[in-house]
Protein backbone atom coordinates (compact mmCIF):
# COMPACT_ATOMS: atom_id res chain seq x y z
CA UNK A 1 0.00 0.00 0.00
CA UNK A 2 1.95 2.93 -1.33
CA UNK A 3 -0.18 5.57 0.40
CA UNK A 4 0.30 4.03 3.82
CA UNK A 5 4.05 3.80 3.23
CA UNK A 6 4.17 7.44 2.20
CA UNK A 7 2.11 8.44 5.20
CA UNK A 8 4.23 6.58 7.74
CA UNK A 9 7.50 7.60 6.17
CA UNK A 10 6.66 11.27 6.42
CA UNK A 11 5.10 10.80 9.82
CA UNK A 12 8.52 9.66 11.02
CA UNK A 13 10.21 12.61 9.35
CA UNK A 14 7.77 14.96 11.06
CA UNK A 15 8.22 13.27 14.41
CA UNK A 16 12.00 13.14 14.53
CA UNK A 17 13.10 16.32 12.84
CA UNK A 18 14.19 18.61 15.61
CA UNK A 19 15.95 21.84 14.92
CA UNK A 20 14.10 22.58 11.72
CA UNK A 21 15.11 23.31 8.17
CA UNK A 22 18.16 21.53 6.96
CA UNK A 23 18.44 19.45 10.12
CA UNK A 24 15.68 17.32 8.61
CA UNK A 25 17.60 16.76 5.39
CA UNK A 26 19.50 13.58 6.33
CA UNK A 27 16.32 12.13 7.77
CA UNK A 28 14.39 12.78 4.57
CA UNK A 29 17.24 11.37 2.50
CA UNK A 30 17.28 8.16 4.52
CA UNK A 31 13.55 7.56 4.16
CA UNK A 32 13.16 8.66 0.58
CA UNK A 33 16.41 7.64 -1.11
CA UNK A 34 18.01 4.89 0.97
CA UNK A 35 15.06 3.06 2.49
CA UNK A 36 12.22 3.28 -0.04
CA UNK A 37 14.16 4.26 -3.16
CA UNK A 38 11.40 6.65 -4.20
CA UNK A 39 13.96 9.11 -5.53
CA UNK A 40 17.42 8.77 -7.04
CA UNK A 41 20.13 10.78 -5.30
CA UNK A 42 20.22 13.24 -8.21
CA UNK A 43 16.45 13.74 -7.96
CA UNK A 44 16.88 14.34 -4.25
CA UNK A 45 19.46 17.03 -5.00
CA UNK A 46 16.94 18.61 -7.38
CA UNK A 47 14.42 18.61 -4.58
CA UNK A 48 16.85 20.45 -2.30
CA UNK A 49 17.51 23.02 -5.03
CA UNK A 50 13.79 23.54 -5.62
CA UNK A 51 13.32 23.97 -1.87
CA UNK A 52 15.96 26.65 -1.80
CA UNK A 53 14.31 28.49 -4.64
CA UNK A 54 10.73 28.32 -3.42
CA UNK A 55 9.07 29.34 -0.19
CA UNK A 56 8.07 26.75 2.34
CA UNK A 57 9.77 24.36 4.71
CA UNK A 58 11.86 21.62 3.17
CA UNK A 59 9.97 18.81 4.91
CA UNK A 60 6.67 19.97 3.39
CA UNK A 61 8.29 20.50 0.01
CA UNK A 62 9.78 17.01 0.17
CA UNK A 63 6.44 15.47 1.13
CA UNK A 64 4.66 17.14 -1.76
CA UNK A 65 7.42 16.41 -4.27
CA UNK A 66 7.93 12.76 -3.33
CA UNK A 67 4.20 12.14 -2.91
CA UNK A 68 3.55 13.47 -6.42
CA UNK A 69 6.26 11.30 -7.97
CA UNK A 70 5.17 8.14 -6.21
CA UNK A 71 1.42 8.43 -5.84
CA UNK A 72 0.17 11.44 -7.77
CA UNK A 73 -1.76 14.23 -6.16
CA UNK A 74 -3.35 11.92 -3.58
CA UNK A 75 0.11 10.67 -2.62
CA UNK A 76 1.21 14.26 -2.15
CA UNK A 77 -1.73 14.98 0.12
CA UNK A 78 -1.17 11.85 2.23
CA UNK A 79 2.57 12.51 2.61
CA UNK A 80 2.01 16.16 3.54
CA UNK A 81 -0.57 15.25 6.17
CA UNK A 82 1.86 12.68 7.58
CA UNK A 83 4.63 15.23 7.87
CA UNK A 84 2.61 17.79 9.84
CA UNK A 85 0.51 15.44 11.98
CA UNK A 86 2.99 14.76 14.83
CA UNK A 87 3.81 18.44 15.26
CA UNK A 88 0.16 19.47 15.22
CA UNK A 89 -0.64 17.11 18.09
CA UNK A 90 2.45 17.89 20.18
CA UNK A 91 2.41 21.64 19.63
CA UNK A 92 -1.33 21.91 20.34
CA UNK A 93 -0.87 20.01 23.58
CA UNK A 94 2.02 22.27 24.61
CA UNK A 95 0.02 25.37 23.68
CA UNK A 96 -2.90 24.08 25.74
CA UNK A 97 -0.70 23.67 28.82
CA UNK A 98 0.91 27.03 28.21
CA UNK A 99 -2.37 28.91 28.10
CA UNK A 100 -3.74 27.01 31.08
CA UNK A 101 -0.70 27.33 33.33
CA UNK A 102 1.16 30.40 32.14
CA UNK A 103 0.30 32.33 35.30
CA UNK A 104 1.78 29.67 37.57
CA UNK A 105 4.84 31.17 39.24
CA UNK A 106 7.51 28.64 38.23
CA UNK A 107 6.31 28.58 34.62
CA UNK A 108 6.63 32.35 34.56
CA UNK A 109 10.21 32.11 35.75
CA UNK A 110 11.01 29.51 33.12
CA UNK A 111 9.33 31.52 30.38
CA UNK A 112 11.04 34.75 31.27
CA UNK A 113 14.39 32.95 31.06
CA UNK A 114 13.47 31.39 27.73
CA UNK A 115 12.47 34.66 26.06
CA UNK A 116 15.98 36.16 25.76
CA UNK A 117 17.28 32.80 24.51
CA UNK A 118 14.62 32.73 21.80
CA UNK A 119 15.68 36.20 20.65
CA UNK A 120 19.29 34.96 20.53
CA UNK A 121 18.32 31.94 18.44
CA UNK A 122 16.35 34.02 15.97
CA UNK A 123 19.36 36.31 15.70
CA UNK A 124 21.59 33.33 14.94
CA UNK A 125 19.29 32.15 12.17
CA UNK A 126 19.24 35.70 10.81
CA UNK A 127 23.01 35.92 10.67
CA UNK A 128 23.36 32.72 8.69
CA UNK A 129 20.82 34.01 6.16
CA UNK A 130 22.65 37.34 6.00
CA UNK A 131 25.94 35.54 5.42
CA UNK A 132 24.52 33.63 2.44
CA UNK A 133 23.00 36.84 1.14
CA UNK A 134 26.20 38.86 1.34
CA UNK A 135 28.67 36.22 0.23
CA UNK A 136 26.63 33.80 -1.86
CA UNK A 137 28.61 30.63 -2.36
CA UNK A 138 32.09 32.18 -2.05
CA UNK A 139 34.14 32.00 1.14
CA UNK A 140 33.52 34.69 3.72
CA UNK A 141 36.15 37.43 3.64
CA UNK A 142 36.29 41.19 3.18
CA UNK A 143 37.29 40.91 -0.46
CA UNK A 144 34.51 38.60 -1.56
CA UNK A 145 31.56 40.47 -0.06
CA UNK A 146 28.94 41.44 -2.63
CA UNK A 147 28.56 45.23 -2.47
CA UNK A 148 25.16 45.34 -4.19
CA UNK A 149 23.74 42.99 -1.58
CA UNK A 150 25.09 45.12 1.29
CA UNK A 151 23.41 48.17 -0.19
CA UNK A 152 20.11 46.33 -0.66
CA UNK A 153 20.29 44.94 2.89
CA UNK A 154 21.09 48.30 4.46
CA UNK A 155 18.29 50.15 2.69
CA UNK A 156 15.80 47.39 3.46
CA UNK A 157 16.83 47.40 7.11
CA UNK A 158 16.38 51.16 7.47
CA UNK A 159 13.04 51.15 5.68
CA UNK A 160 11.84 48.34 7.95
CA UNK A 161 12.98 49.61 11.31
CA UNK A 162 12.56 53.34 10.81
CA UNK A 163 9.43 53.42 8.69
CA UNK A 164 7.83 50.10 9.69
CA UNK A 165 7.33 49.14 6.07
CA UNK A 166 5.50 45.95 5.12
CA UNK A 167 8.13 43.17 5.27
CA UNK A 168 6.81 41.18 2.33
CA UNK A 169 6.75 44.25 0.09
CA UNK A 170 10.31 45.01 1.18
CA UNK A 171 11.43 41.45 0.41
CA UNK A 172 9.94 41.54 -3.08
CA UNK A 173 11.42 44.98 -3.78
CA UNK A 174 14.84 43.63 -2.76
CA UNK A 175 14.47 40.96 -5.42
CA UNK A 176 13.46 43.54 -8.01
CA UNK A 177 16.37 45.79 -6.97
CA UNK A 178 18.82 42.95 -7.54
CA UNK A 179 17.42 42.26 -11.01
CA UNK A 180 17.64 45.96 -11.94
CA UNK A 181 21.17 46.34 -10.52
CA UNK A 182 22.30 43.29 -12.45
CA UNK A 183 21.04 44.53 -15.81
CA UNK A 184 22.19 48.12 -15.20
CA UNK A 185 25.74 47.05 -14.34
CA UNK A 186 25.76 44.71 -17.34
CA UNK A 187 25.16 47.63 -19.71
Amino acid sequence: MIYLQLFFSFLQIGLFSFGGGYAALPLIQEQVVTLHKWLELSEFTNLVTISQMTPGPIAINAATFVGLQVGGIFGAIVATIGSVLPASIIVSALAYFYIKYKNVSWIQHVLSTLRPAVVAMIATAGISILTTALWGTSTVSLGTVRIDMIVIFAIAFIVLSKFKANPITVMLLCGVAKVILFYVTAL
Binding site: P57, S92, L114, A117
Partner: protein
Protein backbone atom coordinates in the same frame (compact mmCIF):
# COMPACT_ATOMS: atom_id res chain seq x y z
CA UNK B 1 -11.64 41.53 18.56
CA UNK B 2 -13.83 40.83 15.55
CA UNK B 3 -16.34 38.01 15.36
CA UNK B 4 -15.25 34.39 14.92
CA UNK B 5 -15.87 34.01 11.20
CA UNK B 6 -13.91 37.13 10.43
CA UNK B 7 -11.09 36.10 12.72
CA UNK B 8 -10.87 32.71 11.02
CA UNK B 9 -10.82 34.24 7.60
CA UNK B 10 -8.09 36.64 8.63
CA UNK B 11 -6.11 33.84 10.28
CA UNK B 12 -6.27 31.71 7.14
CA UNK B 13 -5.44 34.55 4.78
CA UNK B 14 -2.51 35.79 6.84
CA UNK B 15 -0.92 32.37 7.38
CA UNK B 16 -1.42 31.60 3.67
CA UNK B 17 0.08 34.90 2.62
CA UNK B 18 3.02 34.67 5.03
CA UNK B 19 3.79 31.09 4.08
CA UNK B 20 3.73 31.95 0.39
CA UNK B 21 6.54 34.43 0.98
CA UNK B 22 8.60 32.59 3.55
CA UNK B 23 11.89 32.13 1.82
CA UNK B 24 14.86 31.03 3.84
CA UNK B 25 13.60 28.90 6.64
CA UNK B 26 11.38 28.81 9.68
CA UNK B 27 12.60 31.83 11.58
CA UNK B 28 11.56 34.08 8.77
CA UNK B 29 7.94 33.13 9.21
CA UNK B 30 8.27 33.71 12.95
CA UNK B 31 9.36 37.28 12.34
CA UNK B 32 6.54 37.73 9.84
CA UNK B 33 3.98 36.23 12.22
CA UNK B 34 5.18 38.63 14.89
CA UNK B 35 4.85 41.51 12.51
CA UNK B 36 1.31 40.56 11.53
CA UNK B 37 -0.23 39.33 14.77
CA UNK B 38 1.63 41.42 17.32
CA UNK B 39 2.31 44.74 15.60
CA UNK B 40 -0.49 44.91 13.06
CA UNK B 41 -3.51 43.04 14.50
CA UNK B 42 -2.56 43.26 18.20
CA UNK B 43 -4.00 39.80 18.75
CA UNK B 44 -0.99 38.64 20.77
CA UNK B 45 1.46 40.63 22.86
CA UNK B 46 5.19 40.47 22.30
CA UNK B 47 6.06 38.47 25.41
CA UNK B 48 3.42 35.92 24.59
CA UNK B 49 4.76 35.68 21.07
CA UNK B 50 8.23 34.82 22.38
CA UNK B 51 6.71 32.17 24.67
CA UNK B 52 4.83 30.69 21.75
CA UNK B 53 8.04 30.57 19.71
CA UNK B 54 9.73 28.73 22.57
CA UNK B 55 6.89 26.21 22.51
CA UNK B 56 7.10 25.84 18.74
CA UNK B 57 10.79 25.23 19.12
CA UNK B 58 10.60 22.61 21.81
CA UNK B 59 8.47 20.31 19.66
CA UNK B 60 9.67 18.32 16.66
CA UNK B 61 8.66 19.29 13.16
CA UNK B 62 8.86 22.29 10.95
CA UNK B 63 9.32 25.65 12.60
CA UNK B 64 7.01 27.47 10.19
CA UNK B 65 4.18 25.02 10.77
CA UNK B 66 4.74 24.87 14.53
CA UNK B 67 4.79 28.65 14.73
CA UNK B 68 1.51 28.85 12.85
CA UNK B 69 0.00 26.12 15.06
CA UNK B 70 0.75 27.95 18.33
CA UNK B 71 -0.63 31.20 16.99
CA UNK B 72 -3.71 29.39 15.65
CA UNK B 73 -4.26 27.63 18.96
CA UNK B 74 -3.87 30.81 20.93
CA UNK B 75 -6.43 32.60 18.78
CA UNK B 76 -9.07 29.97 18.15
CA UNK B 77 -8.24 26.63 19.80
CA UNK B 78 -8.15 23.49 17.70
CA UNK B 79 -10.09 25.03 14.83
CA UNK B 80 -7.46 27.75 14.77
CA UNK B 81 -4.80 25.05 14.58
CA UNK B 82 -6.47 23.44 11.56
CA UNK B 83 -6.93 26.75 9.79
CA UNK B 84 -3.37 27.86 10.35
CA UNK B 85 -1.89 24.49 9.29
CA UNK B 86 -3.95 24.60 6.11
CA UNK B 87 -2.89 28.18 5.48
CA UNK B 88 0.77 27.37 6.01
CA UNK B 89 0.92 24.10 4.09
CA UNK B 90 -1.12 25.02 1.02
CA UNK B 91 1.29 27.55 -0.56
CA UNK B 92 4.34 25.24 -0.65
CA UNK B 93 2.05 22.38 -1.69
CA UNK B 94 0.70 24.31 -4.66
CA UNK B 95 4.06 25.83 -5.59
CA UNK B 96 5.96 22.52 -5.49
CA UNK B 97 3.25 20.83 -7.53
CA UNK B 98 3.58 23.47 -10.22
CA UNK B 99 7.36 23.79 -10.07
CA UNK B 100 7.99 20.05 -10.30
CA UNK B 101 6.37 20.10 -13.75
CA UNK B 102 8.48 23.01 -14.97
CA UNK B 103 11.64 22.24 -13.05
CA UNK B 104 14.10 22.51 -15.96
CA UNK B 105 12.79 25.85 -17.15
CA UNK B 106 12.54 27.16 -13.61
CA UNK B 107 16.09 26.23 -12.68
CA UNK B 108 17.75 27.78 -15.71
CA UNK B 109 15.79 31.03 -15.61
CA UNK B 110 18.23 33.84 -14.82
CA UNK B 111 15.52 36.31 -13.91
CA UNK B 112 14.14 34.01 -11.20
CA UNK B 113 17.63 33.28 -9.88
CA UNK B 114 18.45 37.00 -9.55
CA UNK B 115 15.12 37.79 -7.96
CA UNK B 116 15.60 35.08 -5.35
CA UNK B 117 19.16 36.15 -4.72
CA UNK B 118 18.11 39.73 -4.04
CA UNK B 119 15.27 38.60 -1.82
CA UNK B 120 17.78 36.94 0.50
CA UNK B 121 19.03 40.38 1.47
CA UNK B 122 15.47 41.40 2.17
CA UNK B 123 14.85 38.34 4.30
CA UNK B 124 17.99 39.08 6.31
CA UNK B 125 16.86 42.68 6.78
CA UNK B 126 13.42 41.59 7.98
CA UNK B 127 14.95 39.29 10.59
CA UNK B 128 17.51 41.92 11.62
CA UNK B 129 14.79 44.53 12.17
CA UNK B 130 12.64 42.18 14.25
CA UNK B 131 15.59 40.92 16.30
CA UNK B 132 16.66 44.47 17.07
CA UNK B 133 13.14 45.26 18.19
CA UNK B 134 12.87 42.22 20.42
CA UNK B 135 16.38 42.48 21.85
CA UNK B 136 15.68 46.09 22.87
CA UNK B 137 12.52 44.82 24.56
CA UNK B 138 14.60 42.40 26.63
CA UNK B 139 17.19 45.07 27.48
CA UNK B 140 14.40 47.42 28.62
CA UNK B 141 13.23 44.86 31.17
CA UNK B 142 16.46 45.71 33.03
CA UNK B 143 16.95 42.17 34.28
CA UNK B 144 20.67 41.46 34.40
CA UNK B 145 20.16 37.71 34.28
CA UNK B 146 17.95 37.93 31.17
CA UNK B 147 20.57 39.99 29.38
CA UNK B 148 23.26 37.50 30.30
CA UNK B 149 21.07 34.63 29.09
CA UNK B 150 20.53 36.42 25.78
CA UNK B 151 24.26 36.98 25.21
CA UNK B 152 25.32 33.49 26.28
CA UNK B 153 22.54 31.80 24.30
CA UNK B 154 23.68 33.75 21.26
CA UNK B 155 27.30 32.70 21.72
CA UNK B 156 26.28 29.07 22.24
CA UNK B 157 24.08 29.01 19.15
CA UNK B 158 26.19 31.15 16.83
CA UNK B 159 29.80 30.46 17.80
CA UNK B 160 29.60 26.94 19.19
CA UNK B 161 26.66 25.74 17.05
CA UNK B 162 25.07 24.07 20.05
CA UNK B 163 21.74 22.40 19.31
CA UNK B 164 18.72 24.57 20.08
CA UNK B 165 17.19 21.80 22.21
CA UNK B 166 20.07 22.02 24.70
CA UNK B 167 19.73 25.78 24.99
CA UNK B 168 16.01 25.43 25.68
CA UNK B 169 16.60 22.73 28.33
CA UNK B 170 19.31 24.81 30.04
CA UNK B 171 17.02 27.83 30.17
CA UNK B 172 14.28 25.73 31.73
CA UNK B 173 16.72 24.58 34.43
CA UNK B 174 17.88 28.16 35.06
CA UNK B 175 14.26 29.27 35.26
CA UNK B 176 13.38 26.64 37.84
CA UNK B 177 16.49 27.46 39.91
CA UNK B 178 15.53 31.09 39.70
CA UNK B 179 12.13 30.36 41.15
CA UNK B 180 13.63 28.57 44.16
CA UNK B 181 15.97 31.48 44.88
CA UNK B 182 13.09 33.92 44.46
CA UNK B 183 10.78 32.00 46.84
CA UNK B 184 13.49 31.65 49.47
CA UNK B 185 14.13 35.37 49.39
CA UNK B 186 10.41 35.92 49.81
CA UNK B 187 10.26 33.63 52.84
CA UNK B 188 13.13 35.18 54.75
Amino acid sequence: MENKAQLRKKLFLSTFYLSAFTFGGGYVIITLLKNKFVDQYHWIDEKEMLDLVAIAQSAPGVMAVNGAIVVGYKLDGLIGVLISILGTVLPPFIIITIVSYFYEAFQSNQFIALMLDGMQSGVAAVIAAVVLDMALGIVKEKSILNNIVMVIAFICAFVFKINVAWIVITCIIIGVARMFIFERRHDS
